[in-house]
């Protein structure tokens, strides 16, 4: 018997006669009815609590805000291919699909996001053109993410409902961190040590 058949047979033996399926009660909150301005404030608060820097701006000021946020960071900026031209800082280079490890040559990355969860301060990137491949938001030491107000939801259930589980997804809540030394949180290990968020709303 193959290992597969063996393990499946053991499971059936262990379970014995099958019980009727049990219902899962989902009595927890699945929506967050707070008005959008409040959700934007919560998102900002949670991102800052985990040492991200948040720049709020009007939707037509994203480009200048990105440029200002990157001021003083020496080195080249790489952008995901789907990032709109008006968001891109002068001289930014579009990701051309070079070998992933070569992305270490860049100082900063600019991407969009798919959805942002206010309650947990989480940004989700789904490898779509505006988010870029996974290595892009990983290797350069500074990550700039642009979030627009329509992408912000209150709760984790609302966030997951907007995602496609078949895409490679990266959920980001603050810069890379560790709690491995005396369970004290320290920001900045292998991922980007700086997370800058540009949050655009009217």
């Amino acid at each position: 018997m193959s290992a597969r058949d063996d393990v499946l047979a053991r499971i059936r033996t262990a379970l014995g006669t099958q019980q009727p399926p049990t219902e899962v009660a989902r009595d927890y909150r699945t929506t967050d009815d707070r008005p959008l301005p409040e959700l934007l404030d919560v998102l900002t608060d949670r991102l800052e609590d985990y040492q991200a820097t948040v720049h709020r701006c009007a939707p037509d000021a994203i480009g200048p805000t990105v440029t200002a946020a990157l001021h003083g960071i020496p080195g080249d900026v790489v952008v995901a291919p789907g990032v709109p031209a008006q968001w891109r800082p002068a001289g930014a280079i579009e990701d051309d699909g070079r070998p992933a490890v070569d992305l270490t040559a860049f100082a900063a990355t600019l991407t969009g996001v798919t959805v942002a969860v206010a309650e947990t301060g989480t940004l989700v990137l789904d490898a779509s053109p505006i988010c870029g491949r996974r290595a892009l938001s990983l290797l350069p030491d500074v990550l700039v993410c642009v979030v627009t107000a329509d992408q912000v939801v209150g709760s984790v259930p609302e966030g997951l409902a907007r995602l496609d589980p078949l895409r490679p997804l990266t959920m980001i809540s603050g810069p890379s961190a560790t709690s491995d030394i005396e369970l004290q949180r320290v920001e900045g290990v292998h991922g980007p040590r700086t997370l800058l968020v540009v949050l655009a709303s009217d």
Partner: protein, 486 residues
């Protein structure tokens, strides 16, 4: 029903890290003498308990999430075979290859052969309890393949040639000064002026691992969750070492216990709220990676999923004990346990320490191979209170103690003593005589509230872990008779 009766094998001996070489009381005695260890553990567990309590209190529907988590896991186990087949179909349909392993030996062989097929002689690893459990690093080393742990705490343990002592923070038993010493001694070219500032230590690990990540061709990971209906796998982490391993190498091998899956995508909305708040005390961990099979042009192009039994089906056969398979490895039960806080994780002998380890390890190996663990608890119930999926650990501990007692074929001194006690307690005349005899203990105590701990064998087996109170000068019935007449 037990696995032995049904003929379902437990995790084999001689491979992996589920069995200690000493019993818990013996190992705990040494640990308790280590003042530095107790200080480190006390500091770390106090910190994390406070953080967890704070972020759990923020969530108004925590009780409902917890109940949903419990119910989803129970429903998963009730149809485990069907969900595993669905997962296999989905992963295969998206370009992954699924392997099944009956036990640790088979899983190690599968992974070793997969690495050898790539020609690589080193692999980078994301922290994974399953690969710790099966002793994968040792197996790879025996095949001439170097396995490099990339999680900071796991790296500290590996460089210090130590063993992990906590599910989430394997180096919890080391403080910053000890970690600085390990780094200064073992990392080639490390800054000789490295301080014990945790930020500086984290930077030293970043420097040390950076180049290894970039040149790695094969990564080995575990999985926190797998979604049966979509074939999506999830790794929850903080540092970004997980993302490095899951994104950069050409080949990714994920080793996952068969109990890790959830039926639907929607189920993750529950666990991604329960897990981070329970484990690191964060609203959300910095990074969660989710992937289904392979994606052309993004990440590994060769993906293997190894589904591991290694005693899990034996646990499943026990209607009371199977709840231990609901565990999502958050480690909240370790952090609140008064026993764990004092002895640390090494005393448990298994990679799964603390309350959940005390119910999981003996079931995976068969209770006689970890017979002291069900007793490594005061049954205070703190573990049950904090468990995000409401595993009733105290009840399983009692259940396993009963199983251990029933498994004894020869009469133990303890059983003989209790049989005698039962006889005495059912005869009033004998009971009064015995109470009078016990009064002699007052001479041994010489006025102290407890009797000396060092009674001769076989009574020592009982007294070395328990304080016997000095018998009172008068028993209750004597006093009652004096005050009220008989």
């Amino acid at each position: 029903m037990t696995a032995v009766f049904l003929g379902i094998p437990t995790a084999p001996a001689g491979v992996g890290n589920l069995r200690g070489d000493r019993s818990f009381p013996d190992a705990a005695r040494d640990a308790l003498r280590d003042g530095q260890l107790r200080a480190n553990l006390g500091h770390a567990t106090t910190t994390i308990r406070g953080k967890r309590a704070g972020v759990v209190a923020e969530v108004p529907d925590w009780a409902e999430l917890r109940e949903a988590g419990r119910a989803i896991k129970a429903a998963t186990m009730a149809r485990l075979d069907e969900h595993l087949i669905a997962l296999e179909e989905q992963v295969t349909a998206r370009g992954g290859t699924v392997h099944w392993a009956r036990d640790a030996t088979e899983a190690n062989q599968i992974v070793t052969a997969l690495v050898q097929a790539t020609g690589a002689t080193e692999v980078v690893k994301v922290k994974s309890m399953a690969t710790q459990e099966i002793g994968l690093n040792e197996a790879l080393e025996a095949a001439g393949i170097e396995a490099l742990e990339t999680d900071l705490a796991e790296l500290i343990v590996q460089l210090g040639e130590d063993k992990p002592s906590h599910i989430l923070v394997p180096a919890i038993h080391k403080n910053r000064a000890e970690i600085r010493e390990i780094f200064a001694r073992t990392i080639p070219g490390v800054d000789p002026h490295l301080t014990d500032d945790p930020r500086k230590l984290a930077m030293a690990a970043r420097e040390h691992l950076r180049e290894r990540f970039l040149r790695a061709r094969v990564a080995v990971s575990g999985a926190n969750f797998a979604v049966a209906e979509t074939g999506t796998l999830a790794v929850v982490e903080s540092e970004g070492n997980g993302r490095m391993c899951l994104t950069l190498p050409q080949t990714l091998i994920t080793v996952m216990g068969i109990e890790k899956l959830v039926p639907t995508w929607r189920d993750l909305e529950v666990f991604l709220q329960l897990l981070p708040r329970s484990s690191t005390g964060e609203r959300m961990n910095p990074y969660t990676s989710l992937w289904a099979g392979i994606t052309p042009g993004d990440g590994p192009q060769d993906f293997h999923l190894v589904l591991l039994d290694n005693g899990r089906t034996a646990v499943l056969a026990d209607e009371v004990g199977r709840e231990a398979l609901h565990c999502i490895r958050c480690s909240a039960c370790l952090n609140v346990c008064p026993v764990y806080e004092r002895t640390g994780g090494h005393a448990y002998g298994s990679v799964y320490p603390g309350p959940i380890g005390a119910v999981l390890s003996p079931q995976l190996t068969g209770v006689e191979d970890n017979a002291s663990l069900p007793y490594a608890s005061s049954l205070c119930g703190a573990c049950y209170d904090v468990c995000p999926v409401a595993i009733d650990i105290p009840s399983i501990l009692v259940h396993l103690r009963a199983e251990h007692v029933e498994a004894q074929t020869r009469t133990t001194p303890e059983a003989a003593a209790f049989r005698a006690l039962s006889k005495v307690m059912s005869h009033p005349r004998l009971w009064r005589l015995a109470q009078r005899a016990a009064g002699l203990g007052r001479f041994l105590a010489r006025g102290r509230p407890t009797l000396p701990a060092a009674l001769p064998p076989p009574a020592s087996a009982w007294t070395r872990t328990r304080d016997l109170p000095t018998p009172p000068a008068k028993t209750f019935t004597q006093q009652w008779a004096e005050e009220h007449g008989s």
